[in-house]
Symmetry: C2
Subunit: 535 residues, 2 copies
């Protein structure tokens, strides 16, 4: 049997609708579209939290945010939280990282359990269960730990105290002045770094290097190629910086009505600096062409990577997943960044190419099934012939959908969470740190958002697909709100921590097993006991 | 300053109302009453799950069952779950065990993290953060690992293959036959072991040995003296076996109405063997006098222990807590054992003696505050001048109540959970393993029980203090049910796993800290950035 592998490509902050296969009218992404033609394109895939850190910890553990507890960027993943790497290791599969995870290790927990962060186990824990072939979270200001990419740039002759900041994240200004890529006004300028040495091609090459070495190694692998882009800083090298202009910008999805009497939490997010800036046409016109250029570059690199896999004859044995950790408002709904649950933020592109013959019937098809980011980890485990542990992994393997199995009883709701305690919105609203929480329940039509301490928000995506009308305060929607609140309660009451006891062991427990272990509970006399012991 | 210590006495399966200070009409418990006279007696203390293992893991972690995930007896406590011992160690306090914990170590998790179960750290983890001076879970059938008490009995001349089973848990029958203490019909007979060598005095002596040794050691300690009794097997040595008879038995709290159209989950528990047996007067009359004798013996031993502490002049520096891990139906409500949420099961006695002068105003008083078992761990930490971490410990230190502080904003609801997947009730009902769950919300008057997949149960303890009338199906109670369901939702949506990030660090995070770390998000140009950087 051929060795099976998984190539799991993740973009960062890539909206679901900025790919041609997802309907963008001007951005052509033929290489990603080709993946969709070979696999299943999911149109209702949601992340478990629309922010990098929390979303990724859900992807990497297969568990909801409330289960892994790493609620936001920089919140360490608690020690002992089982990761995809732990599950794959049991199957003899290497779980390898090239790129970003935003993992923050639980050093206090490691100390408590006497684990040396420098040991190979310590590194694996610190890297969220990945073997870090190349770890780079992509945001490397002076204060951040240095990354190998810095050294790479230096070797190529791009020397500087902080090569990332001064070459990859800067443009040339007049009089030899550097223009910072952190500032939105510079998004139309080319990054100083030549394209072939920018981050996306660099990471693609690192992935190919790994794949080449892994061929010699022989063990199966799951490679997480985790591109930093099109996440800000919005700056891209030439020629990508000039490929798109105002004519290619999709108009913002927003209405004046949204600003009249909005939900208080929504209002607080609209009041944030990034939202105010992205609500200005000037900002959108400067930034969106760069955002599109960054995506186009990724698409080109995926073309390089696919040709590489084809040459090595790996396409028939490699499951390929392409997705993102969340979207980007880009001024839609008068918002910038991500964080809330409109589709452009909480919904992501997801394409899965399963090379198995069982998946032949679904090639090139579109699935509207309600899919969660946590479904990928169990799907990979299943691809490697493992059995995902349902008491640990809260997602569902996608194979029944990929293989067009009949009679599949799929989930009826997707859930997503957001902890805004670290955001300016918390200060605007004056909400307590432990009560600054939002929860999304979406049933395919109604999107209900439970806001702790406030009324809910509600959108009917059937009549209002652009999510411009929040009917959470409309008494006519009370019944929908009640139904979805009940679904939220049912979900939140589910076990999130019973990770040491599998369902099967519980199901097998009977009075007979109790008696076998010597425990005699509630029997009156020997006769009653003897009767119970009869087979 | 005198070294402070904590003596934390726990009984197992002791109902709240089988002590004279809690109103039992026939059972005199003067030594426990004396504790109440010196401290605060709580009349609304509830456990987080009415079953040994789950309740104890909540006591030992200060966290709800849904947080620690050890839902039932024998479910391992997940590796990395912080325990009281972890918190006390940071304060230089020894956390010491004499008796029962029912801790099951997460050996799979230990393997995953490379922790040797034989190392001192491994032992501490395996013992739930305790230094096991004497570990004995009290149920020692032939199949169980042997305990030091076995050797003790042998040294005293009570030799046998299983001394616990053959001496402590057996009575002499006719013709030299052993009568098993596991069987209820033998509860009226004296255990074969002489009283001074039975488990309760043995554990008391072990506690005193520890205290004596600790005096030489000098470090402060928290000693968990965890009696196995009055948990079944219901058998007690003489003279305690004959102290009580039918005249001393409180009539059962039950009504025929309870058996007419009961809630399906309640019905399934009534149908269990132990419930059917305890619904027979013969069983109650045989068992309850033994149960009372076991309690009387504990009370006498607490007298021994208190005299020991007084002689050593430790009473003025030692906080003493006396409680239980859950109650015992004893035939009330047509039920045996514990598991459901009637007061005789989910409510426990709780007496806290705080020797600090600040507690002088409350000595001998009664508190009706809504108290949870998870409040003890933070109370102990506070007694040792520590600051309980609110993002880890979900209980609240009791000191504001013990010190009669004014303006205390105490909790308005207590919560308890039950996972009945391991019970015969699950088979009776045919509920899925992961949906066999009950949740109690009690506000001091209304006790609401959310039963996944069924209608709720509801009791009004103001008009129905004996909990004989379930009004959960009465439309007149819909508003109460709705209000309490909302409280349940709010509770279940709270963070249960954000244990790596303290509230204070989150509260301190601002745009300024973001800029200091080099992240520039959403700024248009340098002027805007400079303005934000102005102090």
């Amino acid at each position: 049997m051929t060795t099976r592998n998984v190539l799991w490509i993740m973009c960062d902050q890539l909206r679901f609708d900025y790919l041609s296969c997802y309907g963008h009218p001007h951005l052509r992404t033929p290489n990603i579209d080709a993946l969709a033609a070979r696999g299943v394109r999911f149109t209702r895939a949601y992340v478990q939290s629309p922010v990098c850190g929390a979303s990724r910890m859900s992807y990497y553990t297969g568990r909801y945010m409330r289960s892994h507890g790493a609620n936001w960027n920089g919140f360490p993943l608690r020690i002992g939280e089982p990761t995809l790497g732990d599950h794959l290791a049991k199957l003899g599969v290497r779980n390898v990282l090239v790129g970003k995870t935003q993992m923050q290790p639980d050093t206090e927990g490691m100390r408590r359990l006497g684990i040396d962060p420098g040991s190979s186990l310590g590194v694996q824990i610190a890297e969220c269960g990945f073997e870090p072939y190349e770890r780079d979270d992509g945001l490397n200001p002076d204060q951040a730990p240095r990354v190998p990419y810095d050294d790479y740039l230096r070797v190529q002759g791009f020397d500087a105290a902080n090569p990332w900041q001064q070459w990859a994240n800067a443009a040339d200004g007049p009089d030899g002045k550097l223009l910072s890529g952190w500032l939105l006004e510079h998004a139309d300028k080319p990054a100083r770094v030549p394209e072939q040495h920018s981050e996306t091609p660099y990471m693609t090459r690192r992935a190919m290097q790994f794949i080449g070495e892994a061929e010699l190694d022989g063990r199966p692998w799951c490679l997480h190629l985790s591109y930093i882009k099109p996440h800000w800083p919005y700056i891209v090298p030439q020629p990508y910086h000039a490929m798109y202009d105002a004519a290619h910008i999709v108009p913002p999805v927003r209405s004046q009505q949204e600003r009249r009497d909005p939900h208080p939490v929504y209002a607080a997010f609209m009041a944030a600096r990034v939202s105010r800036n992205f609500s200005r046409d000037q900002v959108r016109q400067r930034v969106i062409p760069a955002y599109m250029g960054l995506i186009k570059q990724i698409d080109d690199q995926i073309g390089v990577l696919m040709r590489f896999l084809a040459e090595r004859e790996l396409l028939n044995s490699t499951m390929i997943a392409f997705t993102s950790d969340h979207g980007d408002y880009l001024g839609d709904h008068w918002l910038g960044e991500k964080d809330l649950f409109h589709d452009c933020s909480a919904k992501v592109p997801l394409i899965v190419v399963d090379p198995s013959p069982e998946a032949d019937p679904t090639r090139g098809t579109v699935s509207e099934a309600l899919v969660e980011a946590i479904d990928l980890a169990p799907s990979f485990i299943r691809y490697f012939h493992g059995e995902p542990k349902s008491h640990v992994l809260e997602g569902r393997a996608l194979q029944p959908l990929l293989h067009a199995e009949t009679g599949v009883d799929w989930r009826r709701y997707v859930f997503s969470e957001y902890d805004y305690a670290m955001m300016s919105a918390r200060r605007t609203l004056g909400t307590p740190v432990d009560a600054s929480r939002l929860f999304m329940v979406f049933d395919g039509r109604w999107k209900y958002i439970h806001a702790v301490g406030f009324r809910p928000m509600l959108y009917d995506l059937q009549t209002d697909p652009e999510e411009l009308h929040d009917c959470g305060a409309d008494p006519a929607c009370d019944a929908e709100c009640g139904r979805l609140k009940d679904a939220l309660l049912a979900w939140s009451l589910r076990d999130h921590n019973r990770i040491t006891m599998p369902d099967a062991r519980i199901a097998a427990y009977t009075e007979a097993s109790q008696l076998e272990s010597g425990f005699v509970i509630g029997f009156w006399d020997q006769a009653e006991l003897d009767a119970a012991r009869q087979p």
